[in-house]
Amino acid sequence: MKLTLKIWRQKSKNDKGKFVEYILDGVDGDMSFLEMLDFLNEKLINEGKEPVAFDHDCREGICGMCSLFINGQAHGPDKLTTTCQLHMRRFKDGDTIVIEPWRAEPFPVIKDLVVDRSAFDRIQQAGGYISVNTSGRTVDANTIPIPKKDADRAFDSATCIGCGACVATCKNASAMLFVAGRIGHLARLPQGRIEAADRVQKMVAAMDAEGFGSCTNTGACEVACPKGISLADIALLNREFIKAHL
């Protein structure tokens, strides 16, 4: 198929950036979206032009590296799917596809479609962990019985890959779903309860300090999330936050 691609090109962090249009012929429906970009880049390199920079790593939907705002939606039009799992058969011959980087002040564009998501790392470091004595007398986590229901819900929250689609799609550029995933994972487990009050306050403070917007419960994040992290986790975060202050 033949596609018209409108891709955001930006040389560096301080460059203004602009959309550049590419006509790409010979795209196969079985290509993943990233393979289509590889195909474009091969062509650009052969023409002696600068290839389009974009983030990618595992290409099987678990690493959280790929991003891209495709035709107005984070990770493209499919639900519960990362960009690397999106296939070109989803598009039609002659389609125009607009490809943009995540847009949020805490996610500055580094180059083309690559944004700096280290703000997430700093929020994680603020409290997204449990403190365990690893001196050699560490108790095996499995010795503590945990109800299956809680274990399953904690695991659901833990499946967050930190891709940032929630922030990208939120009209407020809020990182609440990301933080709520961390809170939802740890607050439901006995090991996580110990530092729960401290964790929620520190992570919310870190989230605000990074300059993310505030949540207005539109639910856009939940729809865009490739891992299906639930809005229920944001309610849990709010509950934990209130508990921590009572």
């Binding site: 847009r103 949020a104 009209k171 919310v204 729809v223 944001i234 202050h245």
Partner: protein, 208 residues
């Protein structure tokens, strides 16, 4: 505590829910306009004007209104500043309801309505000598443009509540797993009752 975004959201939820209670009471009083005769409404107005509990609640209500409005505008402006370079293409309808994405606009329209509403009723009620509250209230709807403006404002309020009601409980951390359906349905019912209830009164007096 109010420094964090989550705390601000909680206060938006609390002030919003307080305003919902006020609106339901207000609607209850206004619906007496539809009863035969003017006495029931006059009695209800007299009760509200003299009841000590209501007198105590009035300034609190004012504070809640002002807080909800100012904080709402403040949060909207700060949230907007979090994405200085916007998307060329953004499909908001694919991920969230219209009501949830336009709370600021439905809210501001209700604010505009409030200014007129104060001018139309609150100030005459409080300062002037009103012969008949019933006639003052119903007289406004002789004019088509006031009827239309009021009905549009009630629709905006209904849309605002359709998201706001359940959103408030989400902000307050009510477990979504158990209560979501109940909150969504009751939120929509309240939105419908408020939007339709006030509109019916305005339209009834326009035609009568």
């Amino acid at each position: 505590m109010l420094k964090t975004s989550v705390a601000k959201k909680i206060t938006m939820a609390l002030s919003g829910l307080f305003l919902v209670v006020f609106i339901l009471v207000h609607l209850g009083i206004n619906l007496t306009l539809l009863l035969p005769g003017k006495e029931t409404f006059e009695k209800a107005v007299h009760f509200m004007a003299t009841n000590p509990f209501i007198r105590i609640m009035e300034p609190i209500l004012f504070i809640a209104f002002i807080y909800h409005i100012i904080m709402g505008i403040y949060l909207e402006l700060t949230n907007r500043s979090k994405r200085s370079v916007g998307y060329a293409k953004y499909d908001g309808s694919a991920v969230a309801s219209w009501a949830s994405r336009n709370m600021i606009w439905t809210g501001l329209f209700v604010l505009l309505f409030l200014i007129f509403h104060f001018y139309n009723y609150y100030i005459p009620f409080k300062t002037g000598h009103v012969e008949s509250h019933y006639d003052l209230v119903t007289g406004l709807f002789d004019k088509w443009y006031y009827t239309l403006f009021y009905v549009l404002a009630f629709i905006a309020l209904g849309i605002h509540l359709s998201h706001g009601f359940q959103s408030a409980f989400q902000s307050l951390g009510v477990p979504r797993e158990k209560c979501l359906r109940f909150l969504k349905i009751s939120g929509n019912i309240i939105a419908l009752v408020v939007g339709l209830g006030f509109s019916i009164i305005a339209i009834y007096f326009y035609f009568n």
